[in-house]
Symmetry: none
Subunit: 201 residues, 4 copies
């Protein structure tokens, strides 16, 4: 589907993607039929297959776009920030805000993890995110700001906390993202132990 699209065509395509995201997120990928998508927009089935080769292709497209979009937001936010720990913090905050603004997409990503055929596309994006995080972590370790543990673990820990808190507190409980971000940052940086337990310097 490398069609050259007119502006109107691009708009149609956008509409289809947006509506599909909504339905996929609400109902699940499989339970949402192509018929449902085109009916929701009041167009014929041909339209769908004009813009997308298949339902699967559409989903992959959504997945790629999603991951790319979040990454762009991250990069923009940390631009020019020198301190790696600060960059991590900003990364967490940006994820929270973006996540609260794109609530729908969470389930899609999660679903992608449950079927073999979507895993490659999913991993590609997640690897990028991990690599980004690891860069900051490594730099932090070099500077002595971050504990000298396997940066891979650390990067995943960061993503794990962030994703979990986002899912529960943003999407299920609807808390403001700033508050959730604060908690995530604290927990990531300092762990859960009372600070005075840490041995003296």
């Amino acid at each position: 589907m490398n069609r050259r699209l007119t502006p109107r065509g691009r708009e149609r395509r956008r509409q289809l993607m947006d509506y599909a995201i909504e339905r996929f997120a609400e109902n699940g990928y499989h339970p949402t039929s192509v018929a449902e998508i085109v009916q929701g927009l009041g167009v014929g089935k041909g339209v769908f297959y004009w813009y997308f080769k298949s339902k699967e292709e559409l989903f992959l497209e959504i997945l790629r776009e999603t991951q790319l979009d979040l990454r762009r937001a991250q990069q923009q936010a940390i631009e020019g920030v020198d301190d790696p720990v600060k960059r991590i913090e900003i990364g967490i905050r940006t994820t929270m805000r973006w996540s609260s603004e794109h609530a729908h997409l969470n389930r899609l990503v999660q679903f992608a993890a449950t079927e073999e055929r979507f895993l490659p596309a999913l991993r590609k994006g997640q690897d990028v995110a991990i690599r980004d995080a690891m860069r900051h972590v490594k730099e932090g370790i070099e500077r002595g700001e971050i504990r000298d543990t396997d940066p891979d673990y650390i990067a995943h820990a960061i993503l794990g906390i962030t994703a979990q808190l986002a899912r529960v507190f943003l999407h299920e409980r609807g808390q403001p993202w700033e508050q959730v971000a604060d908690a995530a940052v604290t927990l990531v940086l300092d762990g859960i132990l009372a600070t005075d337990r840490s041995p003296v310097g």
Copy 2:
């Protein structure tokens, strides 16, 4: 399906569940057909519906059983342990071991989160897990061992790190659970920052 089952019947049921878990985990819930399941066991289609009301019901059954089983393992492991931080640590380790021994079930739980109709059952189990964790956290806070933050956040942070590291390092990369557990415990307890950054006591 509250059939009174003979021993032979119970065995059949178990077989069906186990094989279904395997297929669901490998292929996804929707792509796995009932026909595939019964063919895999070399039995007729009616057998499936003799033991389960529907494919959906089977999935829910698996979900419930899964959550119950993990919880049992946890409770057994922490029995008699007095220190709440220790209990948290043991909880994380138990999850890791259980998770490495029941690799299949991870995807199922994740899939359950992507369709509305499975959410209630899923949440029920997760709420229990969170509540369990929160009990330890609260006690830790009271004893001054855990930072005095919202225990809800802390509990979710623990589960988030554990789940993420389990998924990636156990299931994707096949690392030994003890090692992953160590990392998880450290990150949960101390966060990512270099310890000497924490102000003296």
Copy 3:
């Protein structure tokens, strides 16, 4: 199924037929499964096939029994009555009473008329009923009491009115059978026209 049955066996068989009649009448023949029938009686499936060769055979059995039973009631009622018109009247009344006492069976007979394979059995019984009625009609014509028209038509008219009024007023509206019988008798004998239209004497 020409089994020699013990008294207990005959009772079981009766139970099965009665319950089946009830279910067939309420739900229809096809929508009622053998499983439903045996479950309703709390017995295993083997029992059913011990007493009946098949579901179809059971239905045919019910059909035959029904028609035989009604006929017996008729014959008993008109025994010794000499006047053919009186016999017709009694026949109508007996049908009404029997029909009100065996409400369930009506639908079964009606259903039998809608599938080719049940028609032969159905017709056999109905032919008998028509022949019975025609005997009275012919005699009535000979005696000059009944209009000299094709007795076949007359016999069917009698059955038609009786069946229709029974269905509607007995089974749908629950009126007492005596009242419905009165109406049927009058309409059959005198038609609907005002009597004074018949040339005065």
Copy 4:
């Protein structure tokens, strides 16, 4: 299924209904599968569900259409006829002719009476027919032309005779409708008794 249909679509739909009527009438509703219907027309299975929501819906559609069509024929036939007894007569004759021209539909209507889920639709149509007949009957009573009995009974007697004679003499024995209609009219109007039994002559 409130699809906007093209002329071609309307034709398909008609084809499906007509063929289904034929099969339902010949074989019965349940024994006729959707597969059989579409195969009979040499189309794919999806076609059926493009035009009808379900097999049940199709049947109900047929039922409604049938009843509506007969009623239209009746109303057209009695238009402008003043005498109520004459209108009843014409009604009977019209039913006979229509019934002989739509032989298939008889069994369908009969079948509808044997399953709970079809009864509402069936009754709706029959109530209309009864109400129509009752109007004529009442007027006839007022004019002194019809015996002053419960018009409800009379109306049902008319329909009962007509239906029964139609079923037997038209559909089973293939007699010409005019002849059957004559008999029905006579029997309805005058009953079965010899006229000279009516007082004096």
